[in-house]
Every structure is written in C-alpha cells, then in structure tokens.
C-alpha cells in the first residue's frame, strides 16, 4: 500500500456513498475554498481526520456517532467499535453527535439515516463505525511511514501510537493526525474478526456517566437561547378535536404574559418565564370541540376489538391446512385437543421522564432547533417543511434524550407547535409540555385483541396454529377510526413466522384504529404480541400436561440460538425446583429486533391476591455484544418497564379523551416494586449478524409474569394489565 500525501488544504470528507459502500478518504468536495473554515453547525472539517474521527494534538480522540443517546448506551458502544479498530487510548476518547445538517448537505450519505429506532443504533451502524476506525488507523500508519520514510508494512500501532520497531521509533496519533487526514488510500482496510477484539465485548463504563452525576449533561429541556420566551400548551383533550373558544380574562393579573397563540387544536400561552406561561394557561377558560368522538369510552373500544376477531381479515401467513387440522382436533377422539384463548392489551403511554419540549429560533435564512429526538433528520425535514427553508438551512442541536421509548421517533408534535408559536411571536421560543399534556396527548401503544386456536395431537404436540389479530395500525394511525383488512409487520411481530415449529399456520390481521392516535412504543408489536403468544404457549403446555420449558424446547429444535437461550433460562432460574402453593415460576421466550430474548419470573401471590415479583432471570442472545455493561442495563430496565406495563399500565378513554394524566393515576414502578433479584445472562452465539438490545427485553416480562401467576395460583391472566385479574386463591 502506498500513501499519497496531499496538500493540507484539500479537505477530505468521509462517508457512505449513495449505494452504501464506504468511501472514507475519497474527497467529496472538490476544493477547500468551497467550505468555510468552521461550518455553521460548529464543526470544523479542516481539523478533522475524517468526518467520524478527530484527533487533537494532545491525543484526545473525538468520535462522532450517528445515533442518539437516550439511555441505551449506544454512544459508548459505537465509540468502542471505532476505538477497537483505531487502537487509540480509550481513556482519551470523547463522543459527540454527528451533525444532521452536514449529513443533509451530503445527501444523507455521510452518516446514514441517523435514526435511533427499532433497536437499530448499533446493528445498523456496526460496519460504518468499524470501517471509520480501521480507515483512520491505516491512514495514521501511512502517515507515520511517510514521515519515517519506511515501508508501511513495517509500521504497527498500539494504544494511540504508531510504532516502527526496527528503528525503535514511535509517534503519538496526535502528532500524525494532520498528515493522516490527507492520506489517500487505494482501498479500505479489512475489519478485524471478533476473535481479535480487545475492547469490544468487555464490560466498559459509559462515557456519559460523569456528566449525568453533576447536572452538567444537557437535555433538550436545558436549551438556553438569548431572547427566548416560554410557551405552555394545552391541546384538545379529544384527539382530532379543535379549539372552540378561549376566555383570557384570567390572564390580566399575571406578570410577564406575552400573549396567547390559538392553534387549530391547541392553546398556547407565551410568557417571559415558563411558570408564568403555565399559570396563565391554567387561568384560561377553554372550550373544545370533540369532533364527534365525545361519546367514545374504553368499554366500547374493548368490546370493539374483541368483536372484530370474528370479522374478515387479511392473511399475513398461511402454511398447510390449519382449518382442517383445527376441525379434526375439535371432532376427533384419541386425545386430540382444540385449545382456544382470547387475549387483550390496552393503550400505553410512553411517559419518558423528560416531557416533550422544543426550543426554536427562526431567522429569514436559518432555523435552529434544540430538541431531544430519536430522529434528527426527521426534525430537520419537518422544520424545513414548516418554515419554507431548505433542509440545509436547518440546524438541529440534539441533546441527551431524557427517555425516548419511541415517543421521540419522528412524530414530534412539540416541534410543530414550537414553530407555529415562534412564527407568531417573532422570538425564539421554548415550548414545554406539562406531564398532563405529555400523557394525554401521547401517541399510545395500540390497543389489541388476539384469538388463538391450536390443534394438539394425542401426544399434545401442536399440529396447527391459527391467530386472529385486531390491532391499531401504526402506519395508518391518527387518521380517525378505520378498519382495514391488511397487515403490517408491527401487527404480527412474534406471531408471524415465529420460531416454533407448527406444521400448519394461519395468521389473520385486521388493522383497526379508533380516533386515538397510536405509535411505536418500546418493543412495538413484540410488547403485546409477546404476551399473547407466550401466554398461549403456556396454555398449550398445560393442555398437553407438559412442562412449559420442555414443551417449548421440543418446538425449537431447528433453532440452536433459541435452544441456547431457553436452556440458559432453565439453568439460571432453578427451573424445576419445587415451590410451595402461592409461589410459582413462569417463562417466556421470543425473537425480536434480531435477538432471541427470554425471561423467567418467580412470584409470590398471597391468598388474598397480593402479587410480589421475587426474581427475574433474563437471557439474551444478541449474537454479538459490544458492551456487556449497557446491555445488562437494557435488560434490567426492560424488566422494570415491562413490569410497569404488565402490572398497572393502561390508558383508559372516557368522553373520547384519555383519563390518566400524571403519575398519580398512571402508575410507574418504583424502587419498592423492583424485584429483589434481576439476573442477566448474555449468551452471544456469534455469526454474521448483530442483534438489537434496547427492545427485545420488553416482550418476555408480561407473559413470564402471567405464566408465573398461573403456576402460583391457577389463575390464567388473559387481559393486561394484571389489575383486571382476581389473583386470590384458596
């Protein structure tokens, strides 16, 4: 390999080509003169080695990551992937967000989609980050070889230094970075194989921890813009409804009020301080129109979803003749059985700890947005559309995200409101949703009902599975009530093409939406479908008179990864060890977001029906693990969030509007509710792909818990949350 050392003035950009091939080192801009020395987003290409790696003279390495940090540890893990290849000193690594604006100017080809959804942060960017690190390392080596006038093949790297052992010379990366930045390579270097990993796979402290211990971590809510005013907002309580009238008399004695902005479906009070805006908002008398939905309540919706299970559906999957097998099982003798059960799941709110908020500053040729987002490119596009500016005139200052869970994946109602208000008041605006607005105007996890039928042969082995699924569409949601005989992937997760070997399968879907808006909620379809299908598998095992672990195991023989997970679950949970009446273990296993995830829950239920979760054993096979520390955190956190959802989680509807409004009536698990033991076992089995981590831990908790309750009490839970079930036993 030979190094071509170019003039320092020739700016070298790096990134993905339109076809996705990595082209690090190839100039994307013809002349440095076209670029300002510091770009308007604050980045300075002239000081970069590549668009991903900046090495300062003091050897500090800044790694730019194209995904958002909302707690999952993705930024640390992505930096580890780069550092693994770069072989820099990990103690000197810093991370910063890649610029959406710059990505937009590069046609989206520099940093990719930059979305942090679908547990994709790591697995969709592994190759890009590894290549960024390897490319930087090779260019440092080539720069060193050129400096020393030696064969590059004689140069090695170690912990942030280039070495030439034959002459006992070494140079810090920091001393070589400027020269390395303009190295042209004929080909990109190979990525190392997992057996050579030294950093990846090791338990590594997060890079964002210290900033989160002293108050210095900046979230969207913490944006401070000179001259900004504050906005407090109430939207129509009934989604789709509109503003009828506002009586502003209550504002007259409140200091600092700037004005009232009336939007089609919201009222916004603007003031010089947030608390004054909120006080003003609370003093308004507002009348709303309910768009004809004022009579809708949960009882009607619940009945509607269960009734829909008898309606014609789209076929999502068909294999063999399930109908014939089911008919034979219901009529024949010889021990064959037909098992049928109907399950229900409610709307759920995301409720991240940081309520939605957005700060915008609009100018004639530039818009700046400060926001906690999972999707800065969507923010950029939406802002361009709403302001009439070009995407490259929009600057997204994305911060730490105070919880996402899908709520900040691109709908961003708060952004649209902030822009509308800023246009009217002509000043930078920080708009903050109250918790009440955040919960009642959430776009919820969809309500769903599913009916399963299965045919078991005389030995209890399943011959056919039929599923009827009625669930809100996430693609078509928010457009009023509708029923469509169609399917979408989120509707059938964990049910369609599931890893269990059923000889015949028939999966039907009716996408059924009410006027209540629905959206992606952590785990998406797997979060409710996991409960449905893994509860039903437990019912099948019970009907067959078999152990729920062994019963599933016999249906997973084609999937060594799933067998590895379920065997580890049994081993680490003391499965099979007897427990007295009133205590029980339940298990659940599913495949979601490219990983296999299983949990065993152990409970105690008192005779008067009080539930205590004693222990949760989590097993995950994500095929590869970048940072066991943050993967363990994701499993622990998924257990807690899954527990909240399974035990209490429910948004109910009355008079067309969500009833729950804050944490006094939308209950969250707290320390006192936390199981005494949550054990996490990671069993990465390797291979070509990387699995997701953020969401696969959600789905197993509810069914494992419900199955444990059945084992302890004989009470079968078919409707979430568990508050609907009477768990008393004698």
């Amino acid at each position: 390999m030979t190094a071509a050392i170019l003039s320092r003035r020739s700016v070298v950009f790096s990134g993905l080509s339109a076809t996705g091939a990595l082209v690090i080192g190839v100039p994307a801009v013809a002349s440095a003169a076209l670029q300002p020395p510091v770009m308007a987003d604050g980045t300075n290409p002239a000081k970069e080695m590549t668009a991903f790696v900046i090495i300062e003279p003091d050897n500090t390495v800044t790694i730019r990551v194209p995904h958002q940090e909302m707690g999952q540890g993705t930024t640390t893990a992505l930096a580890m992937l780069v550092a693994e290849e770069l072989e820099c000193d990990w103690a000197k690594v810093k991370v910063e967000y890649a610029s959406a604006n710059r990505n937009s100017k590069a046609g989206g080809n520099l940093y990719g989609r930059m979305q942090t959804v679908g547990s994709s942060g790591l697995r969709t960017s592994v190759a890009m980050m590894q290549q960024a690190g390897a490319s930087a390392r090779e260019r440092l080596k080539l720069a060193a070889a050129d400096r020393w006038k030696v064969d590059p093949a004689e140069c090695t790297v170690s912990s942030g230094k280039c070495l030439h052992k034959a002459t006992n010379r070494s140079l810090d990366y920091g001393a070589l970075a400027a020269a390395a930045a303009v190295v042209q390579m004929p080909a990109e270097p190979a990525i190392r194989t997992p057996d050579k990993y030294r950093l990846v796979g090791k338990w590594t402290p997060r890079l964002d921890t210290t900033a989160k211990l002293d108050g210095s971590a900046k979230f969207g809510l913490d944006a401070q813009v000179p001259g900004m005013v504050y906005a407090a907002v109430w939207s129509a309580p009934v989604y789709g409804g509109s503003l009828k009238s506002v009586d502003e008399a209550g504002l007259k004695d409140i200091r600092g009020i700037v004005g009232v902005v009336k939007l089609k479906d919201a009222v916004v009070v603007v003031a010089d301080r947030y608390w004054r805006a909120k006080k003003g908002l609370d003093a308004l008398k507002i009348e709303w129109d309910a768009a004809g939905y004022g009579g809708v309540d949960s009882a009607q919706l619940n009945k509607g979803y269960v009734d829909a299970l008898d309606k014609p559906m789209a076929t999502a999957e068909k294999k063999g003749d399930a109908a014939a097998a089911l008919a034979a099982a219901s009529s024949s003798g010889g021990g064959a059985k037909l098992v049928e059960a109907t399950y229900e799941a409610p709307f759920l709110s995301h409720s991240p700890m940081e309520p939605l908020n957005c700060t915008v500053a609009l100018g004639p040729d530039r818009a700046d947005v400060w926001i906690s987002t999972q999707a800065p490119m969507a923010v950029l596009q939406m802002t361009a559309k709403e302001t009439g500016l070009k995407p490259e005139q929009v600057y997204v200052h994305n911060a730490f995200v105070g919880g996402g869970f899908g709520r900040r994946g691109g709908a961003h109602d708060e952004l649209l409101q902030a822009i509308a208000v800023a246009k009217q008041v002509g000043k930078p605006v920080k708009l903050i949703w109250s918790r009440e607005q955040d919960i009642r105007r959430d776009r919820f996890r969809p309500q769903a009902a599913v009916r399963f039928r299965a045919a078991l042969d005389g030995a209890g082995k399943p011959q056919a599975l039929q599923a009827r699924i009625a669930v809100g569409s996430l693609i078509r949601g928010g457009n009023g009530p509708q029923e469509v005989q169609a399917s979408e992937p989120m509707a059938t997760e964990c049910i369609q093409n599931s890893f269990y070997a059923f000889p015949a399968r028939d999966i039907g879907v009716l996408l059924k939406n009410s006027h209540i808006p629905v959206s992606f909620w952590r785990g998406v379809g797997s979060s409710q479908n996991g409960f449905f299908v893994e509860s039903f598998m437990d019912e099948l095992a019970h009907a067959a008179g078999q152990d729920p672990y062994q019963y599933r195991r016999a249906l997973l023989t084609e999937r060594p990864d799933a067998l590895g997970v379920i065997d580890a679950m049994a081993k680490h949970s003391d499965w099979g060890q007897p427990l007295p009446k009133g205590r029980g273990r339940g298990l659940a296993i599913l495949e979601a977001y490219g990983s296999v995830s299983g949990q065993v829950v152990e409970v105690t239920v008192s005779r008067d029906g009080k539930l205590k979760i004693d222990r949760v054993t989590c097993v995950l096979d994500p095929y590869h693990v970048a940072n066991p520390n943050t993967v363990e955190q994701q499993m622990e956190g998924a257990v807690i969030m899954g527990l909240t959802a399974a035990v209490w989680g429910e948004i109910t509807i009355k008079d067309g509007a969500p009833v729950e409004s804050n944490f006094h009536n939308y209950k969250m698990a707290r320390m006192v509710d936390t199981p005494a033991r949550i054990d996490v076992h990671l069993v990465p089995s390797g291979g070509p792909k990387w699995g997701g981590v953020g969401e696969p831990g959600l789905g197993p908790l509810a069914p494992a818990l419900a199955n444990a309750v059945f084992a302890a009490t004989g009470v079968r839970v078919r409707r979430l949350p568990l508050t609907h079930a009477d768990l008393r036993w004698a």
């Binding site: 210290t210 991240p352 700890m353 105070g402 955190q633 969030m641 707290r670 320390m671």
Partner: protein, 154 residues
C-alpha cells in the same frame, strides 16, 4: 423580591413568592441540573435539598424557602460526594434525566440513616426512573453507605 441561598450563594431575586422553586432554580439561576418531570411532586426529578432534607421543588413556592438549598451542581466539587462516587462505580445512569433527583434523595437518606436497610431504601427513595435503574441505585446506596462508614466524607 425574594432571597434564596443556593449552593452557598445568596441570591436576591425579583420573582413572585409563589413561583415554583424548580423554575426559579432552572430559569433564574441557570442551574439546569434540576429537572422537571411531573409538576405534582410524584416523580422526584426536581428533588433538591433544603438544609439537607429532600424537597420536591416543583411544588415548593420559592418564597417559602428559608433554609440553604443544595442542587446537584452544589453537592460536591469534582463528584467527590460518596453517593456520586458510588453512582460512578455502579455506572447507574441510563438516560440520566432523573439522576440528579435520585442522587440528592439518596444523599439525604444517608445523612439521616447512615446504614439503610433495603426496606429503608424502598420507603425513602420514591423517585421514579423510567429507564429502570433501581437495581443499580440500590447497590450504589449500599456502596455509598459502606464508604461513608469507612470515613468517606460528604
């Protein structure tokens, strides 16, 4: 006009006495480590200490506060407080939004109850963490208690 003492510094502020302490700390003093979570004293993201006791600042009128206020920015210099050290050792935070409140609540618990049982932790640490960092918080509180018993200084 009200007067507040925050992190050892006295501030005379031209705000209404009923202004919530949370927003005065954040928007008048610029100390944004204290977070807004619910506005009704349910979640504890806004927890600060007044004379060492945990207070939910979102429902506390600024004008009612007579004692010395400590926010996360004033708990220690350089993360020296044993609770911060324990949080670091256990790598507690995920999204991090609630952690200022969690740390101040835990520090207040330990100054009251130097060797808390799990039941004490359950009863006194009621702040909500949506990411579910509770298992690590529990470990960190025990770790901090042990360090303080060995003489680590707050």
């Amino acid at each position: 006009m009200i007067t507040l003492t925050v992190n050892g510094k006295r501030h005379d502020l031209d705000v209404e006495p009923d202004a919530p302490l949370l927003w005065v700390i954040r928007d008048e003093l610029g100390l944004t480590g204290t977070k807004f979570g619910c506005g009704i004293a349910q979640c504890g993201a806004c927890t600060v200490q007044v004379d060492g006791k945990p207070v939910r600042s979102c429902v506390t009128p600024a004008g009612s506060v007579k004692g010395a206020i400590t926010t996360i920015e004033g708990l220690s210099a350089g993360l020296k407080h044993p609770v911060q050290q324990a949080w670091l050792a256990e790598d507690v935070p995920q999204c991090g939004y609630c952690q200022s409140g969690q740390i101040l609540a835990a520090a207040a618990l330990l100054s009251d109850t130097p060797n808390p049982s799990d039941a004490d932790i359950d009863a006194k640490l009621t702040n909500i963490c949506r990411c579910g960092t509770y298992p690590r918080i529990r470990k960190a509180v025990h770790r901090a208690a042990a360090a303080m018993a060995k003489g680590a200084r707050t």
